[in-house]
Amino acid sequence: MKRVFLPEKKLKQFFSKISQEYELFACTRSEGAGRIVRLDDIPEEFEFAPVRTAESLRLFLLKLRQLVAKYPSDEYKDITPDFPRRAVIGVKGCDIRGIKIFDEVFLNDPDYVDPFYKSARESLFLVSIDCTDALDTCFCNLLGDKPYAEEGFDINLSPVDGGYVAVAGSERGSKILSSLSLSEAEQQAISQMETNRETILAKLEEINKEFKTEKSYRELLEASEGADGWETAADCVGCGACTNVCPTCFCFTLYDLKGKDANYRFSVWDSCQYSGFARMAGGTNPRRSLLERFKHRYNHKFLHYPIRYNGVYACVGCGRCIVNCLGKIDMRQTFKNLDEAAKTATSKE
């Protein structure tokens, strides 16, 4: 991969190049987590968020409410949905990895591709940027991930003195970079990039050392059916905040409405934490209790999804669910408790 140097003073040019083809969004510094803001004008300077943003990219890929069919209507039988071309600049590695979770379901399924997701996905240009800090809720390292993206981006930026080390991850990213006539990154810049990456990783190790588990999350769940260790569930109120802020949650419902001229079918975000989510006709419900739904969320992310999709977790450790939980539940604590329970169980044997 060719590493080039993007000097700070060329950032404006970088933004404006991208803005020729895409509507611009960027991740800016804000108190706590960063924020994604729309850039109507190209800024002279820009301060990127050092950590992930409050918003995930789900909104850019799966609309809260998407019209998926107007019927009967030939226009909707075969469809190439038209999505606005957008670029998000400054996305963190966790959110880039989150998109892969969606891709497996909506795009890479050999049987059924979701045309709406496909369009939204192809219209989205992604510039990732290495983390330069960590929140105390970040735990990508516990999942074996890194505080930077290694793939899945169009361009990745690594902040260093005076600018960024930039690499392209796609052809369209490469085009943008080559149009800026940048010189190759010097060894010094690359070492600085590597040092920063190590520093942040060390910080994450420090933040999460009390949450380290002996067994992997998947192993803990494989062994946990009906077992102890689920104490944190008692604080869950079933609000669904955890799933709504998550960059890897994708549940939805199809909903039909009668219009004046036609019938409409929408796909709307849903949450497995709601009691009606799995309720069947006649009232039977495979996950009637809050505890079952709570466990289901963990099981889906760390057991069922990896079984179905190449061993990958459907969680990227962004910590948004921790920050936003009404019950103040920390997923890391749940796993720590499960780990303790597993140890107690083994020592009893």
Binding site: V68, A69, Y71, P72, Y76, K77, D78, I79, T80, V105, F106, D109, D111, Y112, V113, D114, P115, K118, E225, F250, C251, F252, T253, L254, Y255, D256, L257, K258, G259, N263, Y264, R265, S267, D270, C272, F277, A278, R279, M280, A281, G282, T284, N285, P286, R287, R288, S289, E292, N299, H300, L303, H304, Y305, I307, R308
Partner: protein, 284 residues
């Protein structure tokens, strides 16, 4: 690109009353389709909603389809009460895998149904009565319903058992005067009273060479499964038409899972051995 959420037009040509709360809906399709027994369709009542149903008619390449539906909620109430022949409804599918009929070659097919559960199983039977019939050793049908009036497809049982390799026994949940009086007599069919599991009490099949398929309410599937295991069936020999709430039908909305399986893609008929460790009967 094909829109996986678009419901194709299907004309409702006939509605037949099966029981006081079950009707069969006959459709003429706007384009022919090929479905396997046990595969299901998403049926849309335009502007009202969509629900999954397994056709009860003969599988294969078809331009007509029968779906047999129990009245039980928003979409099915609408179908039973408001929809009239001549109306255009919507269909998506077929989805899922369907019944593992190839396993029945050289074996006994033990077909266990409860209530409207005989509807999907009828497609399975029609499939077995076709080309496979030569290869199957025996088809043993066990069917239970609440009362004699709740038995679906009553006009077909005698025809089935006349085929030779087919035997059938029926039970109704509670004693019923007309059942007692013999007003519901099906020639060649053994009839009794009790929950459907009573039909498995003195099972005369060669268990080792039998595969069971069952469709019915979840609570029935649970007791049937436990009974079969008690009798010595291995989990690998039991296939269940599982029910979960569905929406997309295409493995996207994550609503219909049992553990890592999506019923809409991997089922709805699941081998018990695959799902037994994932709490298949949940907190029903």
């Amino acid at each position: 690109m094909k829109n996986i959420y678009y419901p194709y037009e299907a004309e409702l040509i006939k509605i037949k009353d099966e029981t006081p709360n079950i009707k069969s809906f006959f459709f003429k399709l706007s384009q022919p389709l090929t479905f396997r027994e046990g595969q299901f369709m998403q049926l849309s009542v335009p502007g009202i909603g969509e629900a999954p149903f397994t056709p009860s008619s003969k599988p294969g390449e078809v331009d007509e389809l029968v779906i047999t539906i129990l009245k039980t909620g928003r979409v099915t109430d609408y179908l039973h009460e408001k929809v009239k022949p001549g109306e255009i409804l919507g269909l998506r599918g077929p989805f899922g895998h369907g019944y593992p009929t190839h396993l029945f070659d050289g074996k006994t097919a033990l077909v266990i149904g409860g209530g409207v559960g005989l509807a999907p199983l009828r497609a399975c039977l029609y499939g077995l009565f076709g080309e496979r019939y030569e290869k199957v050793n025996r088809i043993s049908i066990k069917y239970g319903a609440r009362s004699p009036y709740d038995l679906v497809f009553r006009d077909e049982y005698e025809e089935w058992v006349k085929k030779g390799k087919v035997d059938m026994s029926i039970s109704i949940d509670r004693p019923h005067p007309e059942w007692e009086k013999g007003e519901f007599k099906f020639e060649g069919v053994s009839q009794t009273v009790g929950l459907v599991t009573v039909l498995l009490d003195n099972l005369d099949v060669d268990i080792e060479n039998t595969y069971a398929v069952s469709c019915g309410p979840e609570i029935m599937l649970k007791f049937v499964t436990y009974k079969l295991l008690d009798l010595g069936f291995k989990p690998e020999q039991i296939y269940l038409s599982m029910n979960r709430r569905m929406s997309c039908g295409v493995g996207k909305c994550h609503r219909c899972n049992i553990g890592p399986y999506y019923l809409c893609k991997d089922g709805p008929d699941m081998c018990y051995a695959d799902i037994m460790n994932y709490d298949p009967f949940g907190s029903i």
